[in-house]
Structures are given as structure tokens and as C-alpha cells.
């Protein structure tokens, strides 16, 4: 990651403001969120003040007014099958339907969050126990449990909704449990523990703060389900006839559908609007949360913004040490790569890179994180992540400008002419397919050979990259091999269709030092045998020194210095290259023994085995 120097102060300032403004305030600025909150507030207010707002009694029947149309007899929305005022019933029904749903969600939250915190933080017995309880609760559809409960306790809104709360509690439990387990393994919780912070304090400070907002979102979504289930039960006629609810109104209206279809509209609209508002509120809150979090764990490559400037000083070019007669294979000219931003601007991560790779040479592209070296590599393959594209420049490969080829033509180049070795071996194999099938499939597609032929070649390649038991590796799934083996497999895949150029993106960075040395040996051997050109992206000068014929140094999306490797190592000229060389520790002196205990060290050296 880059030091502060390249983060422009304005960006920091806006970020600070964004982070500081409370999530509650931000949801009010979200149009969907605001609309949902307004609708919900109106519904809740009309429920609270139902006594004041209702023009008539919601329960007094009036035989003269049965199925009165809207407006007649002072019934603004008409009267139902017993001649009761629909508007008044609707207002009171809102009160009871909402209260029933909230009661269920409250019970669910109390049970779910508490047990989730306990099980997540202490695990062991609590966890086992919770798993069993949940599988029992979830062995039945909620409605069936509620029907069974209704069969014994009778038509009580509150008891039935309390049972429903119990049924919903696993949703809160899972959420809390997952958050707690995630957080308790975070290094910052370890650090707090080492700093002497107690368990309760850790739960309060580091864990509850993480689950608070997701709990609100879950509560909003579950309230909608609570309303649906409560209305459903009442619609079936299983509710308390003395308590008006939306479900009862719907049931009454449904039975009179042929006489007064309008009666269906009011309760249906109430249920639909409330549920939609709850879901939209939950979604808006989640969107805002995700935006606020900004995915802090994912170190976005090239996240620093640069001024789109493709001019600037030309790179320092070292003279070729001898006349190199090899023809140019890849020629990148003034390449600019950018990412489309939501606000319509383009964030540039590569600012005019020019570089040449000759046939059969190993070219190192070296730079620190955020320098744009990986972006350059991906844009040559035209495999930039979503939103990224080549904004300007040309990428000539064998006479064709890759920057302007159609996707179909580009697919023909990939694998067959230019291939790729990735950085993280373990995440670059499809976990659901065997290693063998992932080698065979591209060969069949790009070379058009038979399955038997491709299998034979794949086994040969696995042996060639030094895997001791090719058939076993061929039949293995990616999670069954080690990182070093996986990288050998990926190298085998890269050379399988005999390409002219391999783009290797930090091919040894994720590996242990001893494995790295083996992989470097393998790459050198293969390069010698196949005469393939390699563009190797790395931050490690040791890797460059080991493999590369020529080097280009990148900084801020540009090449600052380029030339033969030996020349650059002997005589770095650009100030940035020099500073990188100064930071190398390999050649530094050892610190030496602790001054006042030098004599003791001598003794211990002998004692150590």
C-alpha cells in the first residue's frame, strides 16, 4: 500500500466526512430509504392514533349498512359484510397487525441475539446445543407449527405471534453468531485481549457495534414476514374475531368478492405498502452500510487517484549492452487504463505506459503496490476487472493491436499466443473441477485436439513441471494439493498451448522462499527449452536479478526507467529507482549482538543445538 504522500488531501477530507456522518443521517439522504421511512412513519402514526382518527367503532355491526359502498352513510371507505365501518376497522387493524408483527420480531431478536452472542463468543457446548435446537425449529414450516400451536392455545394473537417469534429467532441467531465468530478471530480482538480488555468490554465495543445495523435490517425484513404470516392465519379464520386485523378484513372481503370487490383493496394495499416499505428500508440501510464500509479488507489496487497526465518526463532509457537482433514481439504504446466511476468520471491507474518485449526475452516489470504494474499486465490480456478498460494507447502483438480487437478475436489469442501465470496459486484454480479437467479443457478448445490426446499431453506437462505423481495430481481437486504444487499446475497450464508470450503476475510472491527458488528454476528451464517470452510482474528485485534480461521500473502508472537488467542494477539513474535500491535490506550489515551481553551470546551459541 502506498504511503500518505500519494493520497490527495481532498479525497481524505471527503472520506472523513462520509465516515463521520452517522448511518441514520445517511439513510435519510438515500431517496428510497427516505420514502420508506416516510411511509412507515405514516402507517405507525395512524396505528398509534387510531382512536382519534377512526370515525366510528371498528367492531359495532350495523345491519342497515351491510356492504355499503364508499361514501354512503358516512362510511368513507364503505362498510363490510357486517356493516362495520371499513376505515375505522382498517386503522385499528393496522394497530393490531403491526403490533403482532413487532411483538414476534422483538421476541425473535431477544432470543436470537442473546444466544448468538453466547454461542459465538464461548462456542463449544453452547454452539452444539444451538445447532440442535435450530434444526428442530426448522424441521417444520412455520405455518404448520403455528397451526399446531393454534390447535391447543386457541385464537390468541399474542401467544401465536410469540411462538412465531421463536420460529424466527434462528435468523437473528445466525446473523449474530456469524458476526461474532468473524469478529472474535479478527486480529484487533486479539490485540484488545493482549491489551488487557475484558470479555464483556470486547463484546460491547468490538462485537455489538458490528452486528447492530445488520440486526436492524433483519428486523425490518422479518417484520414484513411477520405481517404476512399473521395476516395469513387470520385470513384462514384462525384469529381472534374480537381483534380486527388486516387478515380478517381480507378474509371477510374475499368471501364477498363477487358482491363488493372493492373491499379487498384496502387491507391488501395496507399489507403490500407496509411490506414493501419495510423491505425497501432494509435494502436502503444495507446499501448505505456497504457503502460506508467501503470493503476495507480488499486492498483496492491502484486506489490512489492520479491526475490524468500522460505527458511528463520521458523514462530513463539505458543503452542496450549489445546489438540485440531479436524482433519485437509485444509493443505497448502510451497505454492508459482507467476505471469508470459511479459519478461518470474515469479513474486512471495506468498513465501512458510504453514498453517493448522481444521474442524470447524475459522482461521484468517492477514496482510497488499501486504502481499499475498488474493493471498493465491484465490490460495486455484484455482481462481487466469489471469497470476497467483501456482508455487510450495501443498494444501491438505480432502486428495486431490487441487494444482494438473484438472479444472473439481476443479469445483466440489468449492461451494459444499469450498466456498467464497468476499470483495466488490456490485461488486461481476452479475448486469444483479436477486439476486434470482444467488442463484438458483449454487444450481441447484452443488446439482442437481430442480428449485422449489432451489428457496425454496434460500428464506429460504435469511431469514436465516436476510433479512427482502426474496421474495423482491430474485426478486431484485443487484443495488437495499444496500451494507450490498448484503453482506448478498453473505453469503447466500456461505453457500447455505453446504460447509466444507468458504474462506472469508476481508468480512467486505467495510462495515460501524455498518453493520460490524451485519455481524460479522451473521458469528458467521452461523458458530455455521453449524460447517463450515472459513479461514478469514483480516487486522483488531478487526475482528480477534471477530471471530477467531487461527491466522496466513503474511508479504512479508510468515507466520511469527501462533497460538491460545488468545495466540498471549496476547504475540506477532515476531517483525513484535509486530509492528502491536504497531500501533493499539484503546487502545491509547484520545488527550484531546486544552490546552489553555480547559475552553471554558467545556462551549460548555453543549451547544452542
Amino acid at each position: 500500500m502506498s504511503e500518505s504522500a500519494i493520497i490527495p488531501p481532498t479525497e481524505v477530507a471527503t472520506e472523513v466526512r462520509a465516515a463521520r456522518s452517522h448511518i441514520g443521517r445517511r439513510i435519510l439522504k438515500n431517496p428510497t430509504g427516505l420514502a420508506a421511512i416516510i411511509v412507515l412513519s405514516l402507517i405507525v402514526l395512524s396505528a398509534i392514533f387510531a382512536d382519534l382518527l377512526a370515525p366510528m367503532s371498528p367492531t359495532t355491526p350495523n345491519i342497515q349498512e351491510v356492504l355499503a359502498p364508499p361514501g354512503e352513510g358516512g362510511h368513507v371507505l364503505g362498510a363490510d359484510s357486517a356493516g362495520r365501518d371499513v376505515l375505522s376497522r382498517l386503522l385499528f387493524a393496522t394497530r393490531f397487525s403491526l403490533a403482532g408483527a413487532l411483538w414476534a420480531v422483538l421476541i425473535a431478536a431477544v432470543i436470537g441475539v442473546t444466544s448468538g452472542l453466547i454461542a459465538g463468543y464461548y462456542q463449544k457446548f453452547f454452539e452444539q446445543f444451538s445447532v440442535w435446537v435450530i434444526s428442530i425449529i426448522q424441521a417444520l414450516p412455520g405455518i404448520v407449527v403455528l397451526l399446531a400451536a393454534r390447535a391447543v392455545v386457541g385464537p390468541s394473537l399474542w401467544i401465536i405471534m410469540a411462538v412465531f417469534g421463536l420460529i424466527l429467532s434462528p435468523a437473528f441467531y445466525r446473523l449474530t453468531y456469524a458476526a461474532v465468530v468473524g469478529v472474535r478471530n479478527e486480529l484487533y480482538v486479539d490485540a484488545a485481549r493482549v491489551a488487557g480488555v475484558g470479555d464483556l468490554s470486547i463484546i460491547g465495543r468490538h462485537i455489538l457495534s458490528v452486528v447492530r445495523a445488520p440486526i436492524i435490517i433483519q428486523a425490518a425484513l422479518l417484520s414484513g414476514i411477520g405481517i404476512a404470516v399473521q395476516s395469513g392465519l387470520d385470513f384462514l379464520g384462525l384469529g381472534d374475531p374480537n381483534v380486527p386485523t388486516w387478515g380478517q378484513m381480507l378474509s371477510d372481503a374475499f368471501s364477498r368478492m363477487y358482491q363488493q370487490p372493492l373491499l379487498l383493496v384496502w387491507p391488501a394495499a395496507a399489507i403490500a405498502f407496509t411490506s414493501i416499505a419495510l423491505v425497501l428500508f432494509g435494502n436502503a440501510l444495507r446499501d448505505e452500510l456497504e457503502r460506508a464500509a467501503g470493503k476495507p479488507k480488499k486492498r483496492r489496487r491502484g486506489s490512489a487517484a492520479y491526475t490524468p497526465d500522460t505527458s511528463g518526463p520521458a523514462p530513463v532509457v539505458h543503452a542496450e549492452d549489445r546489438e540485440d537482433g531479436r524482433p519485437t514481439l509485444l509493443e505497448v504504446n502510451d497505454l492508459v487504463v482507467g476505471y469508470d466511476q459511479p459519478d461518470g468520471t474515469v479513474k486512471q491507474v495506468v498513465n501512458g505506459v510504453s514498453l517493448k518485449v522481444k521474442k524470447g526475452e524475459v522482461h521484468g516489470l517492477i514496482g510497488e503496490s499501486g504502481s499499475g504494474k498488474t493493471q498493465t499486465a491484465w490490460s495486455i490480456l484484455r482481462l481487466l476487472p469489471a469497470g476497467g478498460r483501456i482508455v487510450a494507447g495501443t498494444v501491438f502483438f505480432d502486428g495486431k493491436d490487441l487494444a482494438h480487437l473484438s472479444e472473439k478475436e481476443m479469445t483466440k489469442i489468449r492461451g494459444r499466443r499469450i498466456s498467464y501465470i497468476p499470483q495466488e496459486p490456490m485461488s486461481n484454480l476452479d475448486p469444483s473441477f479436477t486439476i486434470g479437467s482444467q488442463l484438458v479443457e483449454p487444450m481441447r478448445v484452443t488446439l482442437g485436439i481430442s480428449k485422449a490426446e489432451a489428457t496425454k499431453r496434460a500428464l506429460g506437462l504435469l511431469a514436465r513441471v516436476g510433479l512427482p505423481n502426474p496421474q495423482k495430481t491430474f485426478d486431484s481437486y485443487p484443495h488437495e494439493v499444496s500451494g507450490g504444487q498448484a503453482q506448478r499446475v498453473l505453469i503447466a497450464g500456461a505453457v500447455s498451448c505453446e504460447p509466444d508470450l507468458i504474462i506472469a503476475d508476481e508468480p512467486t510472491t505467495a510462495l515460501d522462499v524455498t518453493v520460490q527458488a524451485e519455481i524460479l528454476d522451473l521458469l528458467r528451464e521452461l523458458q530455455n527449452d521453449l524460447h517463450v517470452a515472459i513479461l514478469i510482474v514483480t516487486h522483488n528485485f531478487g526475482v528480477v536479478a534471477d530471471l530477467c534480461d531487461r527491466v522496466s521500473v513503474m511508479q504512479h502508472g508510468k515507466i520511469v526507467e527501462t533497460g538491460p537488467a545488468r545495466s540498471i542494477f549496476k547504475d540506477p539513474r532515476h531517483p525513484y529507482t535509486k530509492s528502491l535500491f536504497d531500501a533493499i535490506l539484503e546487502d545491509g550489515a547484520a545488527r550484531g549482538p546486544l552490546a552489553h551481553s555480547a559475552d553471554r551470546n558467545m556462551l549460548e551459541e555453543g549451547a544452542a543445538r
Partner: protein, 288 residues
Amino acid sequence: MKANEQLLVIDNVEVEYPAKGFGKKPFRALKGVSIDIHPGECVGLVGESGSGKTTLGRAVLGLAPVTGGKVLYKGRDIAHLGRKERRALADEIQVVFQDPYTSLNPSLTIEQTLSEPLRVKKMSGPDASKRIRSLLDQVGLPSNAADRLPREFSGGQRQRIAIARALALEPELIVCDEPVSALDLSTQARVLDLFKDIQEATGVAYLFVSHDLAVVRHLSHRVAVMYHGEIVEFGDGGKVTSDPEHPYTQRLLLAAPVPDPVRQEQRRADRRRLLQAQEDLAMQAGAV
């Protein structure tokens, strides 16, 4: 030699993680490890992934289950302390973790993070603020950093914050778990210099865990090399990192490429010869 001259003595420590599922063998991460650290000393701990180096650091911090041996801190065994006793050690032993992105709570400001250990020690608000400002100054960050959130800082800066948190209670030992591995080359050099300066100024001791021989060599007075849960070599930093005795350390040293094409060619040849010689030796041993 008297034990009380040493700050930390790790004596034949074993760590076993219980296996997942019945009938499976528990995983032995440490198989009897012994090292010691003097006050004010930096002991480097080098090894590859799975060697147990991080586990050893966590065992000292009380975050890994010690199933055998002793961890003597100032002569007292701290391997099996209760939660409360462990918390009392907070102003003696501290930690800096590898990943600067997950070692700070993203939703707490720097001031909140740094005040955490101070609040545990019941320091008053104004005193804590003053202390936080001096800590930030000590690690080379501006004092207005206190009000910001971790994501406003780069990796190197976050690691400085983590160092400030570790220094807050003026500990005598800091376990540093790969603290510079996630950083860029130039940042890494600056953070390492900060570690050195702080040690010279405060006399704190480090257990410095890293996979990188060059980093360890730069900072450590003595170096221990771990392999498969055991210490294979322990001694003077300069000696272990340039002229090692154990075959594994020799392989490790020659495996790291030197940033110089000419010398790297030489090293490559040396490595090939070494591997050949070790192979021959193994063959002979097998034949006998």
C-alpha cells in the same frame, strides 16, 4: 547462567491444536521449543509457513494452547494463566500483528483504539489524550491522526498505529508477528528503522517473527530458525543469517535471490551444489 537475568525463557514448549472430528490426531504445532530473550534484546524468529513461528509468538501472548513446557517471564510461568492474571500482564507484554488491515477495528477512531489499553489501566481522560499524542509523535504520525478512522491511512501508517498501541503501556517485551511483510519495500525499511529507534530509546525487547531472513538480519541481535515446529538453529544474528550451520538454514539462505544479477548467478550455482551435496549425504545415510 541465572534465569533472572533473562526477560523471557521459553523452555521446551509444546502446542497442540485439537483435531476437528473424532479419532483424528491433534495437530502438534510446536514440538518442544526453547529460546530466551534478554531485556532490550531483539530475537528474530525465522521460518516458512507452517513452521510454527507464529504459534510460538501466540503462545507467549497466551493466545495458543500450551500443552507442555514452560513460558517463564521474569522467572514466572505464564503459560497457563487465568483470564484475569493474563490481563494483568498487559503492561508487560504487547503485540504488533502482521496484517495492518485487520489488526485495527475499522469502526473505531485511532484515539479510541489507542485509549483501549489506557482505559483498562484506569487512566483519566485528559491524561490518556496527552499520552496518545505523545505516542503518535513517537511513531512519527501527526497528532491530528487521533480523530481519524483506520481506512484513512496507508498500510505503513496503520502499522505505526499498531506500534503505538503496543507501546501505550510501556511494555518490556513486544511480540512482532511479521510486522513488515505486508508492506512495500520502501515503507518496510522505514518501519524497521522505527522499530530500531524505539528499541534504542526505550530498551524494550522484541520477539520478531518473520519469514524474511534479510529483515530479521537487519533488526535482530540473535536469530532462531524454525522448521516443522522445532528450532533448528539459534545464535548470533550475523552468524546464523550469513554462515549458518544447519542444513535447512543453509537451504533457506541460498533460496532467497540476491538483488544483483551477477551475485545471484553465483548464489544459484551455490544452491545447486548445496542441494546436490545434501542429497548425496542423505543417500549415503540411507545406504548405511
